[in-house]
């Protein structure tokens, strides 16, 4: 195995594109090193992207934030501006692993690991965030939901990697929330999860919404009917019931040791309702 730490995006792309064997990108390493240890992945080349300018910084851009691909959970959790604007994004990200894992893990890594249960992903989808992808043909911006295509599989081509994630500008009276269910209190993988991102009008009516669900399908899913169920309402009981029903209808989970199909399908709706109420209150809505 070769270990390289290029100082530019172009050099990283060149290394990744020219490697004849298996190449892997290293940012936080909290998935990659575990996979290497178990022998699941045996890279010929590891490209550490942390020396590239911008990978470890959060920069205000167009009213939103550009978050470098190697920014850790601990670092983002200490960024008061991002926490204020996007509490749901940060709380999802900060649920990954332990304090030690938070010291290293990244949102781009969670996205590219492509677990259906990745805790950073549903809130990014609900936020309408985009990933900036660098590759042999230059840079492109891709919506988060386009990155994973199935468990452990992503849409990036050879030589491509994510350089940053962009969280867009927020209208007034907007907020978000993320909830997952795990049978323990900490350090576990989501059985089902939901993220809700809302904007309210002056009277507290929902004017815009995005809802995403995790761990209930091969990839995290954006649930447009769930968002439609909330728009034009003040989250009355009927709206919340329609939200839950839409999320359950979008679920296509597996049976495994952590949860049954029936359980996950039901619980994802419950989590979406609760997350919607939290996002509503954070956005300044009064129930």
């Amino acid at each position: 195995m070769r270990y390289e730490k290029p100082e530019s995006t172009a050099e990283a792309v060149r290394l990744l594109a020219n490697e004849a064997g298996l190449a892997r990108v290293l940012a936080g390493g909290t998935d990659l090193l575990v996979q290497m240890k178990s022998g699941m992945v045996e890279p010929d080349l590891v490209v550490d992207i942390k020396q590239i300018a911008g990978m470890r910084t959060v920069t205000p851009e167009a009213g939103g934030f550009r978050i470098g691909a190697a920014v850790s959970g601990a670092e983002l959790g200490e960024n008061a501006e991002v926490v204020a604007q996007w509490p749901g994004v940060v709380e999802g990200f900060n649920l990954i692993g332990s304090t030690q894992v938070q010291g290293r893990c990244t949102m781009a890594g969670n996205l590219c690991n492509a677990s259906p249960a990745g805790d950073a992903v549903p809130s990014l989808v609900a936020a309408n965030a985009t990933a900036r992808v660098a590759g042999p043909n230059g840079e492109r911006d891709v919506t988060i939901e386009q990155i994973p295509v199935g468990p452990g599989r992503i849409s990036l081509a050879k030589g491509e990697f994510i350089t940053s994630i962009f969280l867009p500008a927020r209208p007034a009276r907007s907020s978000d929330a993320y909830l997952r269910f795990i049978p323990r209190t900490e350090m576990d993988i989501a059985v089902a999860s939901a993220a809700v991102n809302l904007t309210l009008g002056e009277d507290g009516t929902v004017t815009a919404a995005r809802v995403a669900v995790g761990a209930v399908a091969p990839t995290v899913r954006l649930v447009e009917p769930a968002a439609q169920a909330l728009i034009g309402t003040k989250l009355d009981e009927d709206a919340l019931a329609a939200l839950a029903a839409a999320c359950s209808a979008a679920a296509n989970p597996i049976n495994d040791k952590r949860g049954t199909i029936e359980y996950r399908t039901h619980v994802v709706g419950v989590l979406a309702k609760r997350a919607a109420l939290i996002a509503y209150e954070r956005a300044g809505g009064r129930k």
Partner: protein, 158 residues
């Protein structure tokens, strides 16, 4: 396989080592630098026995490559005591009998020190969540939490 030469600061002292590309910081600390206070429990980031700080940030050294720490400041359990004077956390773990076999203890002390630097007056809940990535199979955790609380109180008074 090309070896990597790395210069870093460990517990305040300059250190240099040569390692293989796939070698973890944990293996470098234990096998090349003799810092065997850092323990390998699971080797996959679940147990926290290999906890160290890299540039002040608490991490599992089993999930860091040796080659990544060029120029970094690393803190391990060996840097915690002031010569023969134990750190208040170390003394408190002894006073509270907060260890039995001791394999998890260095990692827990390093993690607890990182917590108290960030939050000198943590609640019991905050301590338990912060240390959720440090597994102990002997104590049942109550004595560990008590030891951290006692040390925190003492350090605030100091």
């Amino acid at each position: 396989m090309k070896s990597i030469h790395v210069a870093a600061t460990i517990n305040g002292d300059p250190a240099e080592f040569v390692c293989e590309p796939q070698e973890t910081l944990l293996d470098v600390l234990r096998n090349r630098l003799g810092l065997t206070g850092v323990k390998e429990g699971c080797g996959t980031g679940d147990c926290g026995a290999c906890s160290v700080t890299v540039n002040g940030r608490l991490v599992c050294s089993c999930l860091v490559l040796g080659g990544e720490v060029q120029g970094a400041e690393i803190g391990t359990i060996e840097g915690m005591a002031d010569a023969d004077r134990l750190h208040p956390l170390q003394q408190s773990f002894i006073d509270n009998a907060a260890l039995q076999c001791g394999v998890c203890t260095p990692g827990i002390l390093v993690a607890a020190e990182a917590l108290l630097k960030k939050n000198p007056d943590p609640t019991e809940t905050e301590i338990r969540y912060w240390l959720a990535g440090n597994l102990c199979r002997c104590t049942g955790y109550d004595k560990i939490v008590q030891a951290v609380q006692d040390a925190a109180q003492q350090m605030r008074g100091a």
